[in-house]
Symmetry: C2
Subunit: 418 residues, 2 copies
């Protein structure tokens, strides 16, 4: 069952906006056992959109189209569809009621731009008319067309809630397809490729994929088959091989993230955590708290960007900073200790480093980072050197610091530093 | 002069890899005054690549193709081009020498996968034969085709060094094209569309575009013409109209960001800032410090996720929290005051709120956020209600808080709350 994706918007073909919608849709369709043949991005232009639509109807079983459904002048998808597929625009009764309710509730006049949204190509079925965000579907020559908004959250919601279940329902003779994702941290690409070669000959029909998502590396294993239990059994066996090979470098699987794994482990052990961040300046704290419910184990943190704030807020000894420097094992140890004391937590995690682009020296180049962890009985610290831009150094530091918590609780050794 | 971009790779159509190559190429071509008509992504598949190539040759003046040039089994672009354009593969003398030198230097045997790279479609001209990374170009029916590697760094290097200069050279009668971007915060899409209608009739040949980048909205104005100074003059005039209409809602232009604008303003006024974050949990601090040199105005902050940490670290009165709640104007005012005191800064900025998905109540629903700002003479506070997911509430809060600093320094009123 072949599908394609068409994304519409001048902002896509002139490079202002990175097209994450087609990436998302392609990933979700593939994971559901469907094939995407082509992704096309075109501007808000009658001729090119029209040509892309016609071609898709000729060559595919289903088409996902995003963009151009809003209320502004350049949102002309409805008109183009009407012309290209020869389906005059009709007022949708439900959509009209919805807009009128909005207008009455807000006590405003109906504007031409709102009014425009009530006209859809003949034969359209509205998707999610009850919700705040709408799309519509059409069947043309047996091909299912789904028109979704270009706003990523809205598009994703409609994909998950309406489009994917419907498409999967149409093709229920689909062979079983299962995919697993493993997320790794601490190996570079050549190291990973080298380890991977040991799997040759053990894969059978299993398709493996590898892709970097800085600073992580992801591995996928996929298998198609007629029988679900056989597919799962083969994947289980292969997963064991992979886990044996990569060990503690696999920090998560599937939808898990480093921060969700760290959160689960802290919850499981009933431990609390506080932070002292210098070079990451809140990134670790922000990342940790993207997990709902993180307030049960995360008490808080300090962003001590200046030396004085390290002394004032964490009681780091001014002599330590003077003699060893703010970027040193001694300072990071006192920071971790200070955070643990101030927030009265089981663990105190600290980072200090030089994110760049300025501030580096011969002995402490840009990318030099110290991580420290204070526990009830010990204080650990290590030095790392991360390459890349300011943001990449911050990201790698944040990831490594969180990995310390995961490894500490699991009893695994920390990744080696310099 | 119309061009298109074709990106090749199974990892693109199955959603494993986000296609940043087409985004990059489209942006660079547009900035050079060229038009991109269509972007197509296809898998490593003879039929679909071949169809995309033929269509591009029929409809465009130039085509950028990336991917499938490497040494692995799925790199089959050369063979597909040979078939689709009826140009048999020939051994390229320079490429062969290069590969042989590599083999000799490394003291290895030539492998079939290395050998494969020396065969290119008849009439190909190698790009960057001296360098480590190669591509090639072809002219088919007067259309210029550029084949580049899929590895982003290599692709970008070849684009900048060879492809862009060549294309620009072909079309040196190219009209001038200038684009300006304005970034807005605090208006929703219908409000923006409504204000936009007032510009009708004043645009002349100017093309306007509008696109949301949550939580921001961006407006672009573009103009093509024969004469640079005339184009700039018209854009200047139109920019004045836009700035008059949208006023303080325009927070940045071009490559500026909210955090870079706030940074420039603080630097200009020689003011320092500290933060007290609850629901954003470090996001504001992280965002501010993405600007190199931010340590000159940003002293640090506290992430006070628990009530106790608000009391211990910021000296918020426990009675205030008990009576008014942690999410209240009174608490946020004491937090802002506390941050300013602890870090000895000119400004102390604080946020507290309910990011969700849990923790909301009838009187304080999810999305309720209080922002506070302590200055030498005053303390300001306001309540907002933001919609959306946990991450969206965090992002909106961070943006609004930074916007407060910008508006405070500019003497503009803060955006109204609830």
């Amino acid at each position: 069952m072949y599908g394609e994706i068409i994304t519409i918007g001048n902002e896509l073909v002139d490079g202002r906006v990175l097209d994450q919608n087609s990436w998302y849709a392609a990933g979700r369709l593939t994971a559901s056992g469907l094939c995407v043949n082509r992704i096309t991005s075109v501007g808000d232009n009658y001729k090119t959109v029209s040509a892309a639509l016609k071609k898709a109807v000729e060559e595919s079983h289903f088409v996902i189209i995003t963009g151009g459904l809003g209320s502004t002048d350049d949102d002309i998808t409805n008109e183009i569809v009407a012309g290209a597929l020869n389906r005059p625009l009709c007022r949708d009764r439900q959509m009209f009621e919805k807009i009128m309710n909005y207008v009455i509730e807000k006590k405003i006049e109906i504007t031409p731009s709102l009014e425009k949204m009530t006209w859809v190509p003949e034969g359209s079925i509205m998707l999610n008319i009850e919700g705040a965000m709408c799309g519509f579907s059409l069947v043309e020559k047996g091909v299912h067309l789904y028109f979704l908004p270009g706003v990523p959250d809205q598009m994703r919601y409609l994909m998950e809630r309406f489009v994917l279940p419907e498409i999967i329902g149409f093709y229920d003779t689909l062979p079983v397809m299962r995919q697993r994702i493993f997320k790794l941290y601490g190996l570079n690409e050549p190291e990973l490729a080298e380890i991977f070669t040991k799997l040759k000959g053990k894969m059978g029909e299993i398709i493996t994929g590898y892709y970097p998502r800085f600073p992580e590396n992801h591995i996928t294993i996929s298998l198609r088959g007629e029988d679900e239990s056989a597919v799962i059994k083969k994947l289980d066996r292969f997963e064991t091989e992979i886990r044996d090979l990569f060990g503690a470098c696999i920090f998560a699987a599937g939808a898990e993230t480093m921060e969700s794994v760290v959160g689960s482990k802290l919850t499981e052990k009933k431990m609390t955590l506080s932070l002292a961040e210098s070079c990451t300046a809140g990134l670790i704290s922000h990342t940790l708290t993207n997990v709902p419910g993180s307030s049960s184990y995360f008490q808080g943190g300090v962003v001590v960007y200046s030396n004085q704030s390290k002394i004032d807020l964490l009681h780091v000894d001014s002599e330590t900073i003077e003699i060893e420097g703010a970027v040193s094992n001694s300072t990071v140890r006192e920071m971790a200790f200070g955070a643990r004391e101030r927030f009265k937590t089981d663990l105190g995690l600290a980072v200090t480093g030089i994110a760049g682009p300025d501030g580096g020296s011969r002995t402490k180049p840009v990318g030099t980072v110290h991580i420290g962890l204070a526990t009830k009985d010990d204080i650990f610290s290590k030095k790392y050197i991360f390459r890349g831009t300011r943001e990449q150094v911050k990201q790698n530091t944040s990831m490594m610091a969180l990995d310390w918590i995961r490894r500490y609780i699991n009893g695994d050794p920390f990744l080696s530093g310099v």
